[in-house]
Symmetry: C2
Subunit: 779 residues, 2 copies
């Protein structure tokens, strides 16, 4: 490209790749541009408030794309010699290290998971013992004050951590991990500070008695641990090992984070196979069979770590942590034969679960949008919102049990009733000795214990129908209004709680015709509601089976999941997909949309293109880097380097920065070729850890150097994936998504034109962009 050309292009700041600058300003301009054209689409929440620092906006605002899975060519083209010269030992090291990292991820996540459980059991246990102690002395107001006070303090602590240190740690974390594995790296999403807040915020939040779980946060924690290991050490603290450089590419990092997510599920539910399946079904966008294998190893390590800790704690060395810490319910004593009416009840449960699940998703969506308006007003608003919800939760938990009548203890018990001095099945609350309050048994317990109570078998009449109904209503509503406040909050536990309670309710309805145990109904209810909200099937099924340790339930659980998912899919999307959309993360679906079939690649190429010549003037490069946010630039060979202009390949911004930093310039426009590798080691070009790459400001180019030339050929990816401009957009989208690309070149169909029409990026496949350019396909 000659100078004149680049001047023309350089002045234009329109982006080929908005993904490179997927920040508030960019999104705002892009979306308002789209809405100018009067398109009716459900606009992401972000469009209204993009210049703020709200939690949601921050997540949406700092999206920078991770490198494409296409990275292999860098290795191929750039390091061909290098790779050949690598010793076998190094390759062995590389493979061994992958396994070592999987081991470390497993160990780390297992330990954190167990620590989380011990902490929650002890903090919440202490709080509940204090309350029940005061209750048994009939000091009701004092008990409420103590209970609500503890809750508010814990909640406020969690909110402070979240608001001031890592706003990205709020919420479940599963949508963010899902987005990362799809290729969207939201800034600070997996940073060490996020990890810290996620761990402690989750402990405080769960202990504070919120209707939240620790499962989503555990998945996020696992991913953070994996990311930390994948950073390749820290230059700041001089922790750089030679061998860590092997992992400086996106594929290995992505693999590790997949392992981390699986480990998180395995640690949360003690479900190693479920963890693998979760990573496969819900989290990952690309999957390789080698990954299955490594993920499986990671979750096995988690299972072994947890088992070792539990054996250690079974001797009573872990304070209030009993068997209860890790959820593990045993319904296997229940009967496992079933007949026609049972199946009917199960189908009914599935339908109910689907309907309730889609309603739940609808309201979670609405509440999230409302809360983000509050949250964006600043840290104080966030904390006040958390305290308000905490007080409301305390009032419900403490107030609603007064509605329940005292029930006389059953006589054939092996445990004490009412339970004194420990968390248990039968809470005395206000009742006299020999009686228990069934609602208090559910409300004034940790969530895990409440689920265990609901899942308990052979306790048909433990809970009154009215109590179950009240509990279900309260948990359903509290679950909806709790998600979205500034604490780490999982969705699994609220959903399981609500599902189990209506499961038992349905069980009571079908009492006369069905022989299934109430504990089993609770399990099936939980399955139906999970299916209705999360819309997973196989992984949920396996997680539930691993939780309950009874494979004979399989057909029933499968049936209920299938029905509830099918019903709910008619109304809206899964809850994680909804959250992804609200956060404005540019998620690429695996399949092409129908309207894409009527378009070709050319139809979505937008804006003028900035290209470089094979041997380019330094000043031109610097100007292009400064004035655009593009991450990839096509390189075009022109005479005298080729007979006619032809596409040489694509250079990445990060590689250009390294090259410029090295100052390997020449006065004349000549091909210097592989000389560049006398100055650089191949690894200098490999991807840096987050925030550790060379920045534009780090360059120190003198005035006379601006007029010198630099040969781009050595760092050009000479094999970019290309499509012809008349390629069906649906097919181009599938190519882009399946191969995990970041840049895709569109080349002209006919000859005698410039050798490249444009570059397609993730941005160009987004629904809003396409329909903005082609409004006729709006439906």
């Amino acid at each position: 490209m000659d100078q004149e050309n680049i001047m023309n292009h350089g002045d234009d700041v329109h982006d080929i790749e908005n993904e490179g600058l997927w920040d508030g300003k960019e999104i705002k301009r892009y979306l308002s541009e789209v809405s100018d054209k009067n398109i009716t689409y459900k606009e992401p929440f972000l469009v209204k408030r993009t210049n703020t620092t709200s939690q949601i906006a921050i997540v949406g605002a700092n999206v920078c794309p991770i490198e494409s899975l296409d990275y292999e060519i860098v290795e191929n083209e750039l390091f061909k010699q290098d790779w050949r010269s690598r010793k076998k030992v190094q390759i062995f090291q590389y493979v061994l290290l992958k396994w070592a990292f999987a081991l470390l991820i497993g160990l780390g996540t297992g330990i954190v998971g167990f620590f989380n459980n011990i902490a929650v059991e002890n903090i919440a246990g202490f709080k509940l013992l204090l309350t029940s102690g005061l209750m048994s002395e009939h000091k009701y107001y004092k008990a409420f004050t103590a209970y609500a006070g503890c809750n508010v303090v814990l909640a406020a602590a969690a909110a402070v951590l979240c608001a001031f240190i890592a706003p990205a740690a709020a919420g479940s974390g599963i949508p963010e991990v899902k987005a990362y594995l799809n290729g969207v790296d939201a800034y600070s999403m997996l940073a060490p500070s996020t990890l810290f807040v996620k761990i402690f915020g989750s402990i405080l939040g769960v202990s504070a008695g919120f209707v939240v779980g620790k499962e989503g946060p555990m998945v996020h924690t696992g991913a953070c641990i994996a990311n930390l290991l994948g950073q390749g050490g820290s230059r700041k603290y001089h922790l750089t090992w030679t061998w860590l450089r092997y992992f400086k590419n996106d594929r290995d990092r992505r693999d590790m984070i997949t392992c981390g997510a699986a480990a998180g599920v395995a640690a949360a539910f003690r479900a190693p196979v479920g963890g693998v399946l979760f990573a496969l079904e819900e989290a990952a966008s690309w999957w390789r069979s080698a990954l299955l294998w490594r993920t499986f190893f990671t979750t096995a390590v988690v299972a072994i770590v947890l088992r070792a800790f539990i054996q250690y704690c079974s001797t009573g060395k872990c304070g209030l942590f009993g068997q209860g810490g890790l959820i593990m319910y045993d319904v296997s004593s229940a009967t496992s034969t079933y007949s026609g009416p049972d199946i009917l009840a199960v189908i009914f449960l599935g339908i109910i679960g689907g309907i309730l699940g889609s309603i739940y998703n609808y309201f979670v969506d609405k509440v999230l949008r409302t809360y983000s308006i509050i949250n964006e007003r600043g840290a104080v608003s966030k904390i006040l919102l958390v305290i308000a919800i905490s007080l409301l939760t305390s009032c419900c938990s403490f107030g609603l049990p007064w509605l329940a009548k005292c029930i006389s203890c059953p006589t054939d018990l092996t445990v004490s009733c009412p339970t004194v001095g420990e968390s248990g099945n039968y809470k005395g609350f206000q009742c006299p000795t020999g009686y228990y309050n069934d609602l208090a048994s559910l409300f004034l317990n940790t969530n895990d214990d409440a689920i265990r109570n609901l899942f308990s078998t052979s306790t048909k009449n433990e809970f009154h129908i009215s109590s179950l109904f009240i509990f279900f209503g309260a948990i359903y509503c509290l679950g909806i209004i709790t998600y979205g406040i500034a604490i780490p909050a999982g969705l699994f536990i609220p959903v399981i709680l609500a599902g189990a309670s209506y499961g038992r309710l349905v069980g009571r309805l079908f009492e006369s015709i069905s022989t299934l145990d109430m504990g089993l109904y609770a399990l099936l209810g939980a399955a139906s509601f999970l299916g209705g909200t999360m819309r997973m099937t196989v992984s949920l099924c396996v997680i539930l089976l691993e939780l309950t340790n009874d494979l004979l339930l399989l057909p029933l659980v499968m049936l209920v999941l299938l029905i509830s998912k099918t019903v709910a899919d008619n109304f809206n999307k899964g809850v994680y997909d909804q959250i992804l959309k609200i956060k404005g993360l540019p998620y690429l679906d695996a399949h092409a949309e129908p309207y894409m079939k009527h378009l070709v690649a050319r139809d979505v190429v937008s804006g003028p293109l900035i290209t470089f010549s094979g041997v380019e003037k330094v000043g031109n490069i610097l100007h292009a880097l400064k004035t655009t946010g593009h991450n990839g630039f096509p390189v075009i060979d022109e005479p005298p380097f080729s007979d006619a202009p032809e596409l040489c390949g694509v250079v990445l911004r990060s590689h250009l920065l390294v090259l410029l930093k090295g100052k390997n310039f020449s006065k004349d426009r000549v091909v210097t070729g592989a000389d560049v590798f006398q100055r650089f080691a191949a690894f200098d070009f490999s991807k840096a850890g987050s925030g550790k790459g060379i920045k534009l400001e780090d360059l120190d180019i003198e005035e006379e150097e601006m007029e010198m030339y630099v040969d781009l050929h050595p760092i050009t990816n000479a094999s970019p994936y290309t499509v012809v401009e008349t390629m069906s957009l649906a097919k181009a989208a599938i190519l882009f998504r399946q191969l995990g690309l970041r840049h895709m070149c569109v080349v002209p169909k006919s000859q005698g034109r410039p050798p490249i029409v444009g570059i397609l990026t993730r941005h160009d496949f987004m629904r809003e962009h396409i329909l903005g350019l082609n409004p006729q396909y709006n439906e």
Copy 2:
């Protein structure tokens, strides 16, 4: 393309696409051509004998590729209007039908699976009762004659079925299903005759006392049932429904066959989740999340069907079929705590399993190559081989128990000892009353019962060490020499049997320091040997857990699988991959080979190209179809239809045949465009059932029509996937494999040349082809 051109090209019979003609002659020429160049590669077995009708050769010789997953463009380009005009009802029908088919596959496979079990239990049970009856009367020779006679008759019947009706039904079937799902449709692999022989041959073979399983055949059976449903009815029998035409494309068929394979595993092991994972980990090459969901539904149906049948049979209505029919072992009564020494024993087991597994694979490979020489001599040789192996098996089963000493029956039994009049744990054989022969308990039982005996818990001293050793040695060797004979033969059961017996052996070795139960050791031994031969992890783990119904074993099973797979992977490939290779099926691996990184797409393009003009002379097309076996032809638009020659797209042979059959010709060279759809319905172009498409001989073109023109534009896929000739071959291979392509166009990099350089097909990515053209990368 003008006439002169086509004459030049037409005379040359070198194929662009050998896949279209992947028959014996083609392979022979291609391979000999490669070996002429003095390349040392491990040549597939086929090269030596390609003009024969041996079972293996037939499989290898009739490979025709199934249509690419790329099919969607056909819908897109060809049926754009059509799709738009389809009513919502039709789409709903389509979706509903997919589920209905999944249901049917599940039902069908479940019923066949159960029928198989009942038949085997009754036939084998009758045979064993007869033998033990004669034994208890001390008529030893008569007993042997009866036993061996029954075996030989059953075996011969299976061999006759296999040799005369469907040679493709021999063997496991899993490699073939794997190849189909990779895109290789070996002719008659999934035909109704194969299904018939697979079902009955498997029953006869297993009943004949061979060391074979019914698991592989069940997978194949499931796939056959799915394929049958996907054929879209039969024109021959006037069974054509309008709605069945929706499934006339490869993606839907492939999806259904994936479901079928999963259903097969689910039916064989009663392991629905394991079935899904097996389909995912081992069988499928492409996977969509929608498929997970549908596969899961299919296996759930299988589980429910099996459960219903078992409940029905539990009342004793199924003859000799007891609890034993479907393998389901309960080791859950065994202790589930373990300590350091136990882990050590497990690691030891894993290593042993890996080594034994790779040795097993090595010998299976050798034996298969030897047997195929025998098998190709004709049906009689095949049958004689089966009879010989049957006699050998009978001698071992009946002879070896004489080496065991009689053991006095344990006193604390709930079952009778020795068992009389039913299949059971303690076989009397030659022993006096009150004593049993432990080797006979293993040998003279069905394989399922033998496994159950080995897995039984709290029976530490039931088997002598020497007996276990003899049994292990015999089964290991018999397993190796049995696979490859002309009967349907699964590999799972022999491997589990051998593994369980050395597992118990190792258990006895570690007796002094380990507290694990012997039944558990048997399970872990089976796991280690399975891992060492099949090299699956997650699916095996889940299958074993579903078999034994105890999730607490998970960490140990995971560990043993990981170790044995890792150890064995150092020596050779998994057994199914080896069989695929021996059968000469062109399987595409998911990853690119290292040498591909040094090549570009142009390097593997071979032979002159046959192209058509946008409006082509009928004679030229006919000539090209007659003289080549290509399945896809590039269409090039030339002046006056475009300014310069440009690539219009690719036409498929099958579509050309339909077009020619329709005789929509014109005298002049003009674009007739979409007029063609007044003559054709869109569905006329959709894929026909196997063997139902139009053949070249069906065409009846008059002499004067040969000089007329036909417009190819309406049937041209105008969006073929293309790569530039300088694209790294590794990246081109990944593109080809990931998107499941059948044809990939290579376009020139520089301008002013013909618009297409060549077409790459599956053939061009085969190791032998690439290294033949580029011998310098041979290692």
